[in-house]
């Protein structure tokens, strides 16, 4: 029997980590993530979770402690956002390179200056090359489901890679929605023990993080890259198993009203739900349009993208982080690169918006659609185009 309870996004992430029975949490508070780790501390204090909470002096230390805990065989969880995310950046590479399945919830937030606390994907996108599995939740139920499944995927012996679950700061983290929670026994039946093949063990010492040379580095990184790319099959397999067990299915790219649609609007995270309402309105007006929701960012779902856009003539990509001096937005640039040489016939428009929590209503998404279709028709677009920007 499952329960349907009101939970803000932060608590949905914490509830998933608790039900996954994590052993170690090492974290440092930062808005808009703080509720997640506060809730973890409450679970421990209330006796609802047997785990070690390591209160550290910075995010660099938080991720370092997670590295050690995960290497020692503990199921490990943390959470961060924005500036804190950037402070732990260096360590992110070590955790993935050493194949440690740390799970981290990221309550996405813009990066200063200007100093801010509000949501966009500037932090998430900066980690695109850190070797972590990364997925985006679009609502609080998805935060719970993806966080719970993240432990299974990350710890799978075919994967053994760290996993970030991105959730929109405030838009999800601080908003209460109904979330269906499974019974603990159902979760226990879904989870499997975490066993690392080279667990830290003084009776069987290993060499971790040895010094490389130009003669070894490229081969080591290729092995890691292939490991990350091949994790996609396991992600899909475990998301399917999750669906069979709990009734909610996820895919790297979710399609909404895309059958026979001439134009597709690709959106990531919570705003994809607003975009769907705008698309409903546009369809009522006779526009042939659907929505692709990008769930899996790393490993990038190349095949699923081509399947998703099959039959479409126009693709409008909505992005939520600037790439200063670069190719407009990070998702726009990567999707274009993924299509190049495969679908040169598809017309692509890229539009930025929703940065630093700038509110985007259905009307703005209608604007995005109108402008996107115009760009696809004329083939003319400024390099950087932001919806609703003044000036």
């Amino acid at each position: 029997m499952s329960r349907r309870v009101p939970l803000e996004g932060s608590f949905a992430a914490a509830e998933a980590a608790k039900m996954a029975d994590v052993d170690v949490i090492a974290a440092y508070p930062i808005t808009p993530q703080t509720h997640i780790i506060e809730r973890m501390a409450e679970f421990i204090n209330n006796g609802e979770l047997q785990a070690a909470f390591i209160p550290v002096e910075s995010e660099h230390s938080a991720m370092s402690a997670c590295w050690g805990a995960s290497g020692a065989g503990a199921r490990t969880f943390t959470a961060t956002a924005s500036q804190g995310f950037f402070l732990m950046h260096e360590v992110l590479y070590f955790v993935s390179g050493m194949r440690l399945p740390v799970v981290m919830a990221v309550s996405n937030r813009a990066v200063g200056p200007p100093a801010n606390i509000w949501g966009d994907y500037s932090d998430a996108m900066s980690a695109s090359y850190t070797g972590w599995i990364q997925c985006f939740a679009a609502n609080n139920q998805e935060i719970f489901d993806m966080t719970l499944a993240a432990f299974r995927i990350a710890e799978d012996k075919r994967v053994l890679l760290p996993f970030m679950v991105h959730m929109d700061g405030f838009t999800l983290s601080h908003v209460t929605e109904a979330v269906v929670l499974p019974e603990q026994e159902e979760v226990d039946a879904f989870m499997k023990p975490y066993v690392h093949p080279y667990v830290y063990d003084t009776d069987n010492p290993c060499s971790y993080g040895y010094v490389s040379s130009p003669a070894l580095y490229a081969e080591g990184k290729k092995a890691q890259d292939i490991g990350l790319r091949e994790s996609k099959a396991v992600i899909k397999e475990i998301w399917k198993e999750f669906g069979d067990k709990f009734g909610r299915y996820y895919s790297p790219i979710d399609s909404y009203k895309t059958d026979g649609a001439k134009t597709l609007l690709m959106v990531t995270g919570a705003l994809s739900e607003t975009a769907k309402v705008a698309v409903d309105k546009k369809r009522d007006e006779g526009e042939s349009i659907g929505v692709l929701t990008l769930h899996l960012w790393r490993p990038f779902p190349f095949e699923e993208l081509l399947e998703g856009v099959a039959g479409a003539e126009n693709l409008i990509i909505f992005d939520r982080a600037p790439t200063l001096g670069g190719p407009t937005g990070p998702i726009i640039g990567e999707v274009k690169a993924a299509l190049f040489g495969k679908r040169n016939d598809i017309k692509v428009a890229g539009i930025l918006g929703g940065m630093c929590g700038r509110n985007l209503e259905v009307e703005e998404f209608e604007e995005v659609i109108d402008r996107g279709i115009e760009i696809c028709r004329t083939g003319e677009q400024e390099m950087v185009e932001t919806v609703g920007i003044r000036g």
Partner: protein, 101 residues
Amino acid sequence: MAKNQVKPPLLPKWQEMSFGNILAYAGGAKEYKTGDWRTQRPIVDKTKCIKCGMCWLLCPDAAVTQNEDGTYEANLFYCKGCGICARVCPKDAITMVEEEA
């Protein structure tokens, strides 16, 4: 070797790289020849050596070893030729000599 890991070859293909850059044994640095970084080698004049052990203590690579007679010399498999031993020797018993090409 512990945990059934196959020891990778000296120049592995990417498929042969150890998982997570982990080597399932400790002390792998012992096999790493750093002696070929050297441009100068330390030569010890045993008649001047008073066996104080300063070179042994301060060698940053632990490459200095003690002989049976109590004097010291550098293990040239590891010695990088930094010259600290020659600088700290209180009796100027160690001379840095250019390596020949």
